[in-house]
Amino acid sequence: GKKESTGGGDVQESVKIGVLASLTGALESYGDQTKKGFELGMEYATDGTMEVAGKKLEVFFEDTETDPKVARQKALSLLEDKKVDFLVGSSSSGDTLAVTPLAEEYERIMVVEPAVADSITGSEYNDYIFRTGRNSSQDAVAGAAAIAKPGVKIATLAPDYSFGREGIAAFKKAAEELGAEIVHEEYADQTATDFTANIQKVIDKKPDYLYVVWAGANTPWNQINDMKVQEKGIKISTGVADIATLPTMIPLVGMEGFTVYYHTLPDNGVNDWLVDKHKEKFDGAVPDLFTPGGMSAAIAIVEALKLTEGDAHAEKLIEVMEGMSFETPKGTMTFRPDDHQALQTLYAVTLEESDDHDYPVPKLVRELSPDETAPPIMNK
């Protein structure tokens, strides 16, 4: 059976959305955030009606288990069995890349959130992909904007695989444009537990800053502290991730870095709504790193449908979504027409002790505007 089911929308009563996320396994807390954010986003954007332009919105969540094979199978099931009009997801770049070609094949819009790999909107780009999540390069540009100034000497530490290498490459470019000098690049085994040799090398180079890109639970923070890096006059800078990781960053109090989101940082109505609603619904818990992302994805979809008046045909949607701006908990986002990457605000922060928590929290230094953090266009 081919062809019969292409194009949705016209006679259908409802618009269906399939959300792929890691709901179990190592990334399950990310998936959980996306899921909660998306649900709240639907509620916010439709004023609780779950309808847009007279059409019901139906949402299906599927667990990718952080396995590209499962992701693809679930996506197929969403596309074929549930006949969804949109795909959203997912928590890992691998899962996402296994699905994006299906978006093209079935001519359905896929809103990527929160997978970060540049290639999703870069070398692997197709017209059906829009990303509300920020990408690695945006992180890097933000990281550079937070600390790079003429004359500043920076060393870097990152895990030794594409995520780390590309992140540093993008950072280096951005930082050098801002006049800083990269004096040393250090890469460590991504599963390493002993970072002393790497840190030692950084210390030897006597930089002003040590910029760290890290993902994974085996963090180098304790050892950076134990080796008295900060006492030696080297300031640490890194991206602040979700709340669960904040306690591990106790040794880094005082560091200057950036973050994608922390619930106290944005100053806008959407975020206020999100924080309140989230606390109300989830036992007083505040939204976390990827909750606003999930919400943004939902808002983007609803806004686009408003513009097409409920028409879920991909061609129509692409037309209105390219260049579309929409309000999110992180301020105004805009899908850049060239590569469909949402330009968005990121936040320069310092990590400070807090009276309310037994872990440090990020304090806003300044908002990094969407233009300031715009990554290079990489799909050409």
């Binding site: 179990t24 667990d63 693809r72 691998g94 994006t100």
Partner: protein, 338 residues
Amino acid sequence: MKLSNVERSTWLYVAISLALFMVPLFVTGRSMQFLIIQIFIFAIFAMSYDLLLGFTGIISFGHVMFFGIGAYSTAIMLSRFETGLGALFMAIIIAIALSAFVSLIVGILTLRLRSHFYAMLTLALAGLFLVAAEKWTSLTGGNDGFTFRIPEILRDSQILYFVSLTLFILLFFGLRRLTKSPFGRVVMAIRENEERVQSLGLHVVHYKVIVSIVSGVVASFSGVLYMLSIRFVDTSVFATEFTIDVLLMTIIGGVGTLIGPIIGAGLVEFAHHWLSGLSDVHWLFERWIILYGTVYILVVIFFPKGIVGTIQSKLINRKQRAHLPRVNKSGRQGKKSA
């Protein structure tokens, strides 16, 4: 060979194979077909593993490297060159050559030593392949991986189904014959008592190396098919988890039975799919992995030789009890006069 000489089980398998060709008539959904294709793929992978573990008694902890070799050869050839059948054909040739070469080397290095050396060396090599895939980003796309297109004709889900099924059936009958050939008998004897095979005048290492090559090549086919089905590659195709999965499939079904790993593959894929789908039903099932792990434990307790292995030995016991007096006297006579 006369038809009357064909074992009864062969007819059964032929019938099942034919039935499998009918499946797309009933299961038209592409996602279900995708799931079944995955079963064929992992059944092939698991059969290749059974040849090593079940028939020859060689444990490998890095069998995934052959899967990965098949996968990357396909992905790279199809993305670098025109996405025609020619490129696919080249990819298969490369996969075969590379996996044969690797298993030859590993075999020669370790198969004359005690059995766990093969396990450990393959584990190490699979690890090195993983590192290589991660580091050689210009070729492999590193950890992020890349997507690619496959030959037009294979994009149709039905056709891919038939292609996978055909390959799977061919390999099944091929491997079955191999295990029932004189060669296969020797291989099973090696599992039992290597030293004694040696003193029967047979070169154990030759047999083991050949098995290791056949198994590696067959495994690489599953990697090729896997790529055709998901059209995306990243370094996870070298992940130890795959080896563990295939190990479990083989054991659950029953080692040394060939049909067991196939059932194991089906069971693992379905149990996985079904249990993870249950999370909508009740919040308890969000922790479906607990149930999944429990399935393994229960299988060991209730099917200690694997599902097929346990059933087989029950059947054999019953048969023996029924025929015990006869086998010795008249049973043998019949054979000799034939």
